[in-house]
Amino acid sequence: MNPIESNQLPLDEMLISSYEMSRETIVRGDISKVELMRDTALQHFKTNRFPDSTHEKWKNTEIENLTCEDFVQLIEPAQADRNMDELFRCEVHNFDTEIVSMLNGWYHDSNEKLRTLPDGVVVGSFKAAMNAYPALFEQYYGEIAQNTLNGFTAINTALVQDGVFIYVPDGVNARKTLQIIKMIDLEENLFVQNRNLIILGRNSSLSLMHCDDSINQHSSLVNTVTEIFVSEGARFELYKLQNLNDQSGLVNTTFIRQMADSTVKTNTLTFNCGLIRNTIHINLDGSGAHADVLGLYLMDKSQHVDNQIRINHNQPNCTSNELFKGILDDQASAVFNGYIHVARDAQKTNAYQNNNNILLKPTATINTKPFLEIYADDVKCSHGATIGQLDQDAMFYLRSRGISKANARLLLMYAFASDIISEISIEPLRNRIDDMVKKRLRGELSVCEKCVLHCGSPEKEYHFDIDYSKL
């Protein structure tokens, strides 16, 4: 283990000096493209640094509370002192996934670094893949991630340590759902730079589940940048489960490029975390591409979630559909910023954007900004945003049928969330999430169960204590 100590330097200075001092260790094994990009990205970082809440795009998200903390950066993998195979045990009932695990930001090496599954899908460590598939890296790596977007993306490109690489060749339909599990387990405050590269060939398909979890109660800052290329006619589904401790920060930036007639569906499910910033940039670069961007956030205590969704309709005949729903309790706060950009001549675009929120306490806060920027006339674009409470009439209906106030509340909140849950197309996962939402709403998603992996026995389904026959 070789963590670079912070020496009380501000985080940005610490990162810059860590890069300059340990450049040799960091670039070891890099192909030249990756190495070159590190240097340019560092220059971007030096000029832009970390954003703070005075930046328009970061208003209402006090990221400086995180970036002012002391973190260590692992430039080499730490030795695992627990039985990790035991930890990385997925117990979504009846759900057989192909697991890829990351520990403290490094590809967890239980078998081999890079493997080809029976159906031809290549999965492995980012580091290992760049040497095995230099041509793919040459073509795709760093092509859509914008280092100019903010300091987080830039520093990620500069300091990228490891991540997951997935390649689905043309015409291959991945049989099993891939599951990336990221764990943080270190007795120090860790700053992690993860970089994922996912490439789907023509007419291929893949579904991916991406779980962010933490084990201990140390604070960590995970900075993940994911680039996803979806070729002509390919189908891709992404489920993100975010369930970290209250001290953790997660900055998740996903760039997706879709070619003609491809379909992408992302579902971001945020259950617990100190501060989460999810950025999803989708470029619809081929006619007939379709994107569904869904999300659900259930926050309490003083947690904060920020979803920044940008969809660029660059070509005609593309459709997109965005729906984010959230329930905020206690002092929790949320930001939603949807941005649909319809380029000149991207005619016959159909874009829909919606954000619904329920505030449960006077202290909860929501800031929502559904933006449209449109340069083509033959388009159908609409957006909506609502902020409110549980429907009093519905509440009355339930109460008048003898359902307790607490139960009626649960039922209504669950109904509110079910729009998103019902969109999960993998049935066992849907049932599992359904259970988690119910538990979360009852405040029973307890510490040992906070992580999707440890949710114990393949238990019976979770039910509210409600006599439905009365309804």
Binding site: D377, H383, I387
Partner: protein, 483 residues
């Protein structure tokens, strides 16, 4: 789209001419270009202002020096050189005017051309007018009638002279000079404007109206309007504006402040028709305006209605601060951009008091190569229990070279509030046109019909006199055959 016969019509629709582009040769007195403390002292001295006013201006100027121009709006323009602008230009006055006969006939002619007759005709239509040309108020009609009710309606300079206590109390209470770059600039150099005071319990019997015109070249217009509505009063206020056609851009940075006390109601309607620039986007007025109303008392109400057709750049967000419990804010807007016009306009509704309600209806129409953005903020503060907001922002695109944008900001800090926002962007659908054609309405008329119908919700909110003008304007701006 290529074989669509509508293309020609849309082409025509988007190539209208500006009808108020004439220039009147009136003797004008001007300050030297540039902005220093001396300029401000000059303006203040010219207007024979008391010391407190000069102090206010200088404070604002010193603050302005520390600010930089805002860049967040979705507009692009070459940097404005604030030192090349003439900050004071006034039609030369011989002496105080006491009757219409003494008004410069050239000036009267100007207003007649604009369709704003300051003379007897106006008496018939029952509208009191305060006309501001370049920087100075030239004529206020009906002062006597209004005085009978205790209503004060006069130029801002007169108000500073005759009612200093009212001006001192309210000026800057809604838009402080520290508010933003353009508000600070205006506070430093404003030359005139209108002042209106409605005493307790009075329902203003006339529609009050101000007409602004930039005439002289290279001047900026910086007027300031202050409306104070005391308890249980009511007033409907209208504002219109035009400017000559010039190749260079002209700057207009105004401030409008409204204060509404308990149960008072103020309706503020604007038909903004500054020169929008020519078809190549040359010239036109930069309209950087700060308008804000404060619903200070309980159950007070402020309604903004605006029809924005002019200006090469519009940067304008008429806002309501809903401080009193049960107060109501409304915003109705039609913004039309054509050729190279750019508009970034919308509103702010700040809910502070309990049971406050706000409604936002915004209709954007973009044509030619213009960009039209709605930008609005709805903010519910923790004390605003049971606050309610409804917003609807629709955009209509005429042509495929223009842009329509929506940037709503919604911030809620109170769990009992209900906020709804919806927006759509579309073009005139072929179905709608087909329906009209099929019933014997030709395409030109059909487009006119549909655009008018689209804006109807807002036009209906305008006072009668204005509604007619606004409808005409809409057809001029989208001229060709629409109307």
């Amino acid at each position: 789209m290529d074989n669509n016969p509508n293309n020609n019509i849309l082409e025509e629709v988007t190539t209208g001419e500006y009808k108020y582009g004439f220039y009147t040769d009136i003797e004008t007195e001007m300050a030297v270009p540039g902005l220093t403390e001396d300029t401000i002292r000059f303006i203040s001295a010219k207007k024979e202002e008391p010391d407190w006013m000069l102090e206010f201006r200088l404070k604002a100027f010193r603050h302005w020096l520390t600010l930089s121009e805002p860049e967040w709006a979705h507009i692009q323009y070459p940097p404005v050189s604030y030192q090349d602008i003439i900050y004071y230009a006034a039609p030369k006055k011989k002496k105080e005017l006491s009757s219409l006969d003494e008004v410069d006939p050239e000036l009267l002619e100007t207003f007649n051309k604009l369709g704003i007759s300051l003379d007897e005709q106006k008496r018939l239509s029952g509208v009191a007018v305060d006309a501001v040309i370049d920087s100075v108020s030239v004529k206020t009609t009906f002062q006597d009638t209004l005085a009978k009710h205790g209503i004060i309606f006069c130029s801002f300079s007169e108000a500073v002279r005759n009612h200093p206590e009212l001006v001192r109390k309210h000026m800057g209470s809604v838009v402080p000079y520290t508010d933003n770059f353009f508000a600070a600039l205006n506070s430093a150099v404003f030359s005139d404007g209108s002042f209106c005071y409605i005493p307790k319990g009075v329902r203003c019997p006339l529609e009050l109206s101000t007409y602004f015109r930039i005439n002289a070249a290279n001047t900026g217009q910086f007027e300031r309007t202050l409306i104070v509505a005391e308890e249980s009063s009511y007033v409907s206020y209208m504002e219109g504006c035009t400017a000559p056609m010039r190749d260079e851009n002209q700057l207009h940075a105004a401030i409008v402040e409204i204060v509404a006390m308990d149960h008072a109601e103020v309706k503020y309607s604007t038909v903004q028709n500054w020169y929008p620039g020519d078809k190549e986007g040359k010239g036109g007025v930069y309209n950087f305006v700060t308008k804000r109303g404060l619903c200070k008392g309980r159950s007070s109400k402020i309604a903004w209605t605006q029809v924005e057709t002019g200006s090469s750049i519009t940067w304008k967000y008429p806002s309501c601060v809903l401080l009193g419990d049960n107060s109501v804010g409304e915003f109705y807007s039609v913004a039309v951009t054509n050729n190279f016009q750019q508009a970034d306009t919308g509103t702010k509704m700040i809910h502070i008091g309990k049971n406050t309600r706000s409604t936002i209806i915004s209709k954007g129409i973009s044509a030619g190569k213009s960009n039209n953005a709605y930008r609005g903020l709805v903010k519910i503060l923790p004390g605003a229990t049971n606050a309610r907001n409804f917003s609807q922002c629709d955009s209509l695109l005429l042509g495929d070279r223009c842009g329509a944008h929506t940037f709503p900001y919604i911030e809620a800090r109170n769990e009992s509030s209900i906020i709804e926002h919806e927006a759509t962007t579309s073009k005139i659908s072929e179905d709608q046109l087909f329906y009209c054609n099929q019933r014997g309405i030709d395409t030109e008329k059909a487009i006119g019909l549909i655009v008018n119908g689209y804006a109807r919700e807002v036009l209906n909110k305008l006072p009668m006199e204005f509604a007619v003008e606004a409808q005409k304007l809409l057809s001029i701006t989208l001229e060709g055959s629409v109307g």
